[in-house]
Symmetry: C3
Subunit: 140 residues, 3 copies
């Protein structure tokens, strides 16, 4: 067994779901993990990660629009708005999605389903640099 | 340390929470893992997994009804409805629940709490076949 | 590689987010894990765990208030209310947050982001004793 570790950086252009499936898959391929487990961790409080339908961009915009409606900006009861109207909503949206996940690696590939993609979910209106910790336990 | 791997299949009869605690526990028992970690991964974009109250069926139907109300079908702003009114809602509901989880194994058993059960959460109206990847890191 | 295991107990004073970052970090420090993975598991159906903004208490109360509004008590359609108006809402809120997470350990420390904290999320109105399973895979 072997432990592999890398941190990727992504530049976002503001709110939305950014496909990072290829970036994570590239790391796993480079590590030559045939069987094992891939651990993703997003060290931010206003950006998160999620697995989402990756074929139809309209599916993604429906998810984005849902979060915009379910956790709306400009609610009178928000107290934490130092950094703008997207401040508290960005933390709440992070809580409702994921900051860590574990994906099996089989036959040298991430065990994602046919339609699954890995997405970085930016919850801030302005562009940000985001990091993603990728770890793998390599069995063989 | 040893790595164990199996994929289970489940037939769903449409939307709802399906108890799979026994199925996962059976695999762990068969693997004779005394101490370790169990990793579950659901490779679908319109079905997910969750840990839920497993004693009272009414608790489960309240969770199901909540998701039906919080992510309703037939919203005018949904764009991704090729496969019916449950299309985008099923992806959003997946995002709001889990696709991966890790459960400790102690003394040969899943370390679930007294009332916790593992559930496959089907978000599609029509029956589907669903897979669940089970992996275990066996320490002893 | 080494496997480390401990269960912490926490007394809550009713609903809310309780900072447990220091408690988890203390365990990891005591274990002298330099590189590895930390796995957290919350074995309850009316309490969960989440990663949240840890600097401003108002950010936390906004998250708490959001859950209070998004999953309100006293809805006529709730069936599972044996234990009071917080019964079903507490299970639904658990489903919407996390029961398991995995956090990388690098250079002897949890790989949390600058503003990230680990929180126990109590969903019950009255005080409870809650457990948290901490496991670590120690690489070095």
């Amino acid at each position: 067994m072997e432990w592999l570790s890398e941190t990727l950086s992504f530049s976002t252009r503001g709110k939305g779901l950014y496909t990072i499936t290829g970036d994570v898959a590239d790391v796993v391929r480079r590590w030559k993990v045939n069987t094992g487990m891939c651990f993703l961790f997003c060290p931010h409080t206003s950006a998160s990660i999620t697995l989402c339908e990756s074929y139809d961009p309209q599916s993604r915009s429906d998810v984005e629009n849902y979060f915009e409606r379910a956790v709306p900006e400009n609610q009178s009861w928000y107290q934490h708005i130092y950094e703008g109207p997207d401040d508290s909503p960005s933390h709440i949206r992070t809580t409702l999605s994921q900051s860590s996940m574990s994906i099996p690696i089989d036959s040298g590939k991430l065990g994602l389903g046919t339609w699954q993609g890995i997405f970085l979910f930016e919850h801030r209106s302005v562009p940000h640099n985001r990091r993603l910790s990728i770890r793998a336990l390599k069995i063989e």
